[in-house]
């Protein structure tokens, strides 16, 4: 019974995935305005040969800043969880 159920879920999900994937053509649209602009002007405007870094740190610098802040906040949460306990203090669930 469990095998039949699992196979049914697998088939339904696979059919949905194939349907969606066949609907969107791969690599289209082939010509967009944005990447042409970056390739034409990116090296001159940012001064970097690696255009990916140019977009990350120059055109979209604020996004990178907030991404770094997200990582910092995650580590802050982990640090609070693993902090050194004070004298006589215990975890609540012990």
């Amino acid at each position: 019974m469990r095998i039949i159920l699992g196979l049914t879920i697998l088939l339904v999900l696979g059919a949905a995935f194939v349907h969606i994937a066949s609907d969107v053509p791969f690599g289209k649209p082939a010509v967009t305005d944005m990447d042409d602009y970056f390739i034409a002007n990116g090296q001159e405007q940012t001064g970097a040969n690696n255009i990916v870094t140019g977009v990350l740190f120059d055109y979209r610098g604020l996004d990178t800043l907030i991404e770094a802040t997200v990582l910092f906040t995650a580590v802050l949460g982990v640090s609070v969880m693993f902090r050194k306990l004070k004298e006589g203090e215990q975890y609540e669930n012990d």
């Binding site: 001159e44 001064g47 140019g54 770094a68 910092f72 580590v75």
Partner: protein, 155 residues
């Protein structure tokens, strides 16, 4: 459970090479694929290799958690200062003002496919360094805390 001597020796041997490769990826972030985030992740992986091979007491003497916290904070603070330093000069935030001023990383770049030079990019190499420091500190702290939570056999 303690790793065998083979694992510990190979980890000690591989550690400097991983470190150098990560620093290379960070320093050449504006020329070759990679950048601050990827290079910092590679350096943190080297440290994680060391942490996975040794016991907590041996590692925590070499990789100090307090130092990693300083790295992380200095990286994020440096990125903030570099990003908003353009405002002081009367330009929009995250403008690459070092390109036009005659200072450190201001060589012009030829158009098209070329190997490039390290002295280009304006603020970008410094930002890569800051983000690399931040990611290195953050990922190492997570791995170190993970190890400190596991119980070690007294053997």
């Amino acid at each position: 459970m303690r790793m065998t001597k083979v694992v510990r020796t190979v980890a000690d041997l591989l550690y400097p090479f991983c470190m150098i490769f990560g620093l290379y990826v960070v320093a050449h972030g504006h020329l070759t694929p990679g950048g601050g985030f990827q290079g910092g992740a590679v350096i943190a992986t080297a440290t994680a290799l060391l942490i996975a091979a040794h016991r907590y007491d041996d590692v925590s003497a070499r990789v100090k958690s307090a130092r990693m916290k300083v790295f992380e904070s200095v990286g994020l603070l440096g990125f903030l200062i570099l990003g908003f330093s353009a405002i002081i000069l009367g330009q929009p935030a995250f403008r690459n003002w070092m390109l036009s001023r005659g200072s450190l990383f201001n060589d012009s770049v030829a158009f098209g496919v070329n190997p490039g030079a390290l002295t280009t990019g304006g603020l970008m190499p410094l930002m890569n360094l800051a983000v690399g420091l931040e990611v290195l500190g953050a990922l190492t702290i997570i791995t170190l805390y993970m190890l400190s939570g596991t119980k070690e056999d007294p053997s």
